[in-house]
């Protein structure tokens, strides 16, 4: 099988949609990001049928806060092939209250620090064009 056949003509390297996850990216792109909240107020991210913290199955969509704070971050210098042209880049875990999201910070590595406030958006990988969660300093 050649690489062309594997990738498919029409879509190039385009992924099949992942329900829940791609819905969330669509929503973030539209400025309407959400997360899931259980009846015990634990937050989690889709796709899920069960709260990972307490096992509750009563999950409802709640609006994702407009901004969060950087919990921890790293400057990745040696990437996977999917990020070859992006490196170096900053991957961060950002705290949005009861839920956290991991993404790439759109900022100079030197400018990023723990505790900084960032907004969330959807961008693309410079290498593959795949969509990903991006954070923008506020």
């Amino acid at each position: 099988m050649s690489g062309d056949e594997r990738d498919g003509e029409a879509g190039g390297s385009e992924r099949v949609r992942d329900a829940g996850f791609d819905d969330l990216l669509d929503a973030i792109e539209a400025g309407e990001g959400h997360y899931l909240r259980c009846s015990n107020d634990h937050g989690s991210l889709p796709p899920r049928r069960v709260c990972p913290h307490c096992g509750d199955r009563d999950l409802t969509e709640r609006p994702l806060p407009d901004s969060g704070t950087v919990s921890t971050y790293t400057v990745v210098a040696v990437p996977t092939p999917q990020f070859a042209d992006d490196a170096p880049y900053v991957t961060a875990v950002v705290d949005f209250g009861t839920v956290r999201l991991t993404g790439v910070v759109d900022a100079d590595p030197e400018a990023v620090e723990t505790g900084m406030t960032v907004g969330v958006t959807v961008g693309t990988s410079e290498t593959t064009g795949d969509r990903l969660v991006r954070f923008v300093p506020r």
């Binding site: 400057v75 996977t80 969660v133």
Partner: protein
């Protein structure tokens, strides 16, 4: 409950052997363990085999039967996968099988072929131990994930890269006489700090290398050992396994590893020991910060206290509880699926006085092996003791 004895150990050299297949590597390690035990392949009742990414690395799934065949065993064989803890969980399942009386003779081991993938390919392969949707697509790598944990550790407890560098220096020094180790060269703190960054604050020398290799042990029941006059003075007296959320973002802690804590507590209770009884440990130091988190989870140090242990000399071969006398993953090498069993083999050899570092540490009676998968969403701990 049958007591589980380690009858033999075997491992290949760890290093760069891109042309060697997984089956060839495991054949070498497995046959060495069987020969060391004085056990005939025909007596083995089941092969418990650990491997992480055979499909990606050499287009090979269903590796259990293949590996049994490679060592001349005609018996059921099962592959276990728990990222870098793959062979640790294989050991645990084997221990349970002997204890219940279900089996008397088991071959347990693991293999990973990695260097043929190149740095980018191996980085990609290792990354799939993380959450595909929420971590890999955000550019997370295996070193990147530990870098997130290292920065969180510094934020919570203080300390810096110099403290971490001492872990790397120690483990390289420990590996010097280990003929199976990938790196047998001393390094300095300045070299660690001046090395290129992989994922800040972790640099090249904070990271384990990409490694090919295999390891194996023969586990037998006490009754089988006695019946056949085997030299098997070391027993696996405790086994524990812990788990955590796969993605870091869903964890309660970034700078602690509760899966390892749970595994250690279970293993200690199983063996009837406490952390105070531990005389030597092989822990999962895929990155320098990982060793720090491991020795804290094992109860050898309180949270925040483990970072300075190497710098203070406490975990060196001259210290109270030497950690990673084989060189650790850092210098011995980390052929992912082989690591857990290699740790078990190292502790066994330390307890029998046949380890390259035995002259440095004298007689030891209690050791632990700690094996972690991914960013410690999986962890196993095994307690080994001299019983005969």
């Amino acid at each position: 409950m049958s007591e589980v004895r380690v009858a033999g150990t075997g491992m290949t050299d760890f290093g760069r052997f891109p042309e060697r297949t997984g089956r060839d590597l495991f054949a070498e390690a497995g046959l060495a363990a069987l020969d060391d035990a004085g056990v005939d392949p025909g007596d083995v009742e089941h092969v418990f085999f650990g491997n992480f990414m055979g499909e990606l690395a050499e287009h090979q799934g269903h590796m259990g039967p293949l590996m049994a065949e490679a060592v001349g065993v005609n018996a059921p064989a099962t592959r276990y996968e728990a990222a870098c803890a793959s062979s640790g969980v294989a050991v645990r399942e084997a221990v349970r099988s002997v204890r219940t009386g279900e089996s008397d003779v088991l071959l347990v081991g693991g293999t990973e072929r990695m260097t043929n993938m190149g740095t980018a390919g191996a980085t990609e392969g290792l990354s799939i131990a993380a959450d595909d949707l929420y971590e890999i697509r955000a550019g997370m790598t295996f070193p990147g994930a530990y870098a997130l944990m290292a920065r969180a550790y510094f934020e919570e407890f203080g300390g810096d890269s110099t403290d971490l560098a001492h872990v790397a220096v120690k483990n390289h020094e420990h590996a010097l006489p280990n003929e199976h180790a990938q790196f047998r060269s001393a390094i300095t703190v300045d070299q660690v700090l001046d090395a290129p960054r992989i994922a800040d604050p972790l640099g090249l020398y904070d990271s384990c290398p990409i490694t090919d290799g295999a390891s194996a042990v023969v586990l037998v029941s006490e009754a089988f050992a006695e019946r056949n006059g085997l030299d098997a003075s070391v027993a696996v007296t405790g086994s524990g396994q812990g788990g955590d959320k796969l993605a870091l973002q869903d964890r309660e802690y970034f700078a602690r590893t509760p899966a390892s804590t749970a595994a250690a507590e279970e293993a200690y209770a199983d063996a009837g020991i406490t952390a105070d009884d531990v005389e030597v440990a092989e822990v999962h130091d895929c990155f320098t910060i990982a060793e720090v988190l491991a020795i804290e989870s094992l109860g050898l140090y309180d949270p925040g206290e483990g970072l300075g242990a190497a710098r203070r000399g406490e975990t060196t071969r001259h210290g109270d509880v030497p950690v990673n006398l084989s060189g650790g993953l850092k210098a011995k090498g980390h052929p992912v699926g082989a690591t857990g069993v290699a740790q078990l083999a190292s502790i066994t050899n330390l307890l029998t006085g046949t380890h390259a570092r035995s002259p440095d540490v004298g007689d030891l009676r209690v050791g632990v092996a700690h094996n972690a998968g991914g960013t410690v969403a999986s962890a196993t701990v095994h307690v080994l003791e001299v019983v005969a």
